[in-house]
């Protein structure tokens, strides 16, 4: 781009680094340092000498992998990971399926009210996760919910949405409600970028809208589907706000429902920052491994398609 300019004029060489200084300082202070500190803490523990009374009785010592071993054998942590896995298996396919469906519908011919519905489906993006969980939480409460009113009138069974299996659906619904719109916009944007000529051949062959969607549109937007899938998985692994907000409304959401909630409890309720740091590091590692594994698989598929 400007490689020739770099040689031609003086003073340019240092300029990009000068522009990067604010980001570099912030990255060092609020990303690199905290991560390094968390990893350091995860190898430490408190050693209590004697009765633990008096100054110097409690000291920080090297713990090796002890915190990691404890975390990996901790049933609470393990159960939380399983719960989040189940929750993710509902949220990601449903949310992205709906986002793709709505994006295709927006992109179809002679659709009416598209600007209104597009904005309406996007609207939950502007609503804080805590408020979304709070709104749905009230809609799940039999005393105030219109759903229960309808079920009651129709003499149908009224499931408890805040317990057992339905609780997963209730929590998933909040995430699907909040996330579909943004993903729909990402997919719709790449649908609109498909050049019109691509459709001409299909038109001449007499392809139906459904065939066009399945054979042309979906393969063409595959990269943005990969991207949304990737970000959805990361967001799902980090679920914290919604179960935390629903907690006051039901006894079924315990304080360690998701692994990140357990990290929070260990760090602040129990004050054991060392175990919390080890658990946090494990979650970060799992996220990174999953991300890179997924990106590599996606890249390999793309390359195969390009070759074949």
């Amino acid at each position: 781009m400007s490689s020739t300019a770099g040689r031609r004029s003086y003073g340019v060489k240092g300029a990009p680094y000068a522009f990067l200084v604010p980001a570099a300082i912030l990255f060092a202070l609020f990303f690199a340092l905290p991560i390094g500190y968390a990893v350091w803490l995860s190898f430490r523990k408190v050693h209590v000498s004697g009765l633990g009374l008096g100054a110097g009785a409690r000291s920080e010592v090297w713990a090796g992998l002890e915190n990691y071993r404890d975390a990996l054998t901790d049933n609470e942590f393990y159960d939380g990971a399983l719960r989040v896995l189940g929750y993710g298996c509902i949220v990601v396919p449903v949310m992205l399926g709906l986002a793709l469906l709505f994006a295709l519908m927006l992109d179809s011919e002679r659709v009416r009210l598209a600007p209104f519905t597009r904005l309406a489906i996007f609207l939950p993006y502007a609503i804080p996760g805590v408020v979304a969980a709070l709104l749905w939480g009230f809609l799940y409460l039999p005393d105030v919910s219109p759903f229960y009113y309808v079920l009651d009138r129709l003499h149908l069974p009224q499931p408890n949405l805040l317990d057992g299996g339905p609780l997963y659906l209730a929590l998933s619904n909040i995430a699907v409600w909040g996330g579909t719109g943004f993903n729909m916009i990402v997919i719709y944007t790449s649908l609109r970028a498909i050049p019109a000529e691509v459709y001409e051949a299909a038109k001449l062959d007499g392809a139906s809208p459904l065939q066009t969607a399945l054979k042309i549109k979906i393969p063409m937007v595959a990269p943005s589907l990969v991207l949304t899938f990737f970000f959805s998985i990361i967001a799902t692994l980090q679920v914290f706000n919604e179960p935390t907000t629903l907690k006051p409304l039901t006894n079924s959401v315990n304080t360690t429902w998701s692994p990140l909630m357990k990290v929070y409890v260990d760090a602040f309720a129990k004050g054991d920052i060392y175990s919390a740091a080890a658990e946090a590091t494990l979650i970060a590692l799992a996220t990174l491994m999953l991300s890179f594994g997924f990106l590599r698989a996606a890249n390999r598929r793309n390359r195969q398609e390009a070759a074949g």
């Binding site: 522009f19 927006l106 519905t117 904005l119 489906i121 219109p146 007499g206 692994l237 740091a277």
Partner: protein, 301 residues
């Protein structure tokens, strides 16, 4: 935009074999897509409609009348919310505005610097720096927030406005968007021409590049504003004095108390209704001159 118009207009004029057998109405309006989108809109608007109506109900009406029947208690609910802890609710709203407004402004500036540098210069380590910054997206917020809290505690900065503002300034997605916008909006020859005229790099950025990047930067600002306004976890970890709480944390504490006293339900509901208003208003106003597509990094529209 123009190619889209052509694509949309063409089939309406001609007769495509696939749709010719439908009734005349179906030929003009695609029923299935329109209905699907309407169902989607009903699904997303339902909880919003519910909170609007529920906020008009008095405490007894909330549990006794049909959900979608407006009540008579809106002004009383507002008065109650106003009276709760000497109107601390409005303090929370101001705090949210401060965190989101100031935070997003500074964040957008940092993103603009970074994105501009990454897009217009070629230098050693460019891609490495970009990738390291982007990796920040992958870090679960709790994992960052706990050591951030511990470190800020050593600097005696926890439970302060700064403790919520500072960690949110560097936004990986904002940097990513800024780089895309800068690459698309600032032509290399314009930068070159500025250098020929002897302008300094800083002057080229502020006088030439930045004005060209403004539409993209509005998007970065909005994205970051929404992200900070909606953030719950960071203030939840950093703050203990409720006079510095943002709305999300304030409403959460209100709900925690309300769990045992249903009398507080109406306060929570009215508070939730007022909390979603500013952002909905922001998006309704802004979409007149700003396209949603920009949010996903689309630069051609």
């Amino acid at each position: 935009m123009s190619s889209l118009a052509v694509r949309k207009a063409a089939p309406a004029a001609g007769t495509t074999p696939g749709t010719a057998q439908g009734p005349p109405l179906r030929r003009r309006i695609a029923l299935v897509p329109t209905l699907t989108l309407l169902l989607g809109a009903i699904y997303t608007l339902l909880p919003v409609a519910w909170v609007v109506i529920a906020s008009t109900k008095s405490g007894s009406e909330l549990f006794s009348t049909f959900t979608f029947l407006p009540g008579s208690g809106f002004t009383q609910n507002l008065k109650d919310l106003n009276a709760y802890r000497d109107g601390i609710y409005w303090q929370w709203m101001l705090n949210s505005g401060l965190y989101a407004g100031l935070g997003a402004l500074v964040s957008t500036c940092v993103s603009a610097f970074t994105g501009y540098a990454l897009a217009t210069y070629r230098f050693r380590g460019r891609e490495a720096i970009f990738n390291v910054l982007l990796a920040g997206v992958l870090m679960p917020p709790v994992i960052l927030a706990i050591p951030q809290y511990l470190l800020l505690a050593k600097a005696n900065l926890t439970d302060s406005y700064l403790s919520v503002l500072l960690p949110q300034i560097l936004a990986p997605y904002g940097v990513y968007l800024s780089r895309i916008y800068a690459a698309a909006a600032v032509p290399t020859d314009v930068v070159e021409a500025g250098r020929m005229d002897g302008a300094s790099e800083w002057r080229i950025f502020t006088r030439i590049a930045l004005p060209m990047m403004i539409p993209g930067m509005v998007t970065v600002f909005l994205f970051q504003f929404v992200a900070i306004w909606n953030n719950f976890l960071l203030p939840y970890i950093m703050l203990s004095n409720d006079e510095r709480f943002p709305l999300t944390l304030g409403l959460y504490t209100l709900l925690m108390q309300g769990a045992n006293t249903p009398a507080l339900y109406t306060l929570v509901i009215t508070g939730a209704f007022l909390a979603v208003l500013p952002l909905i208003a922001l998006f309704l106003v802004i979409q007149r001159f700003w396209s949603l597509d920009l949010l996903s990094g689309a630069v051609k529209s």
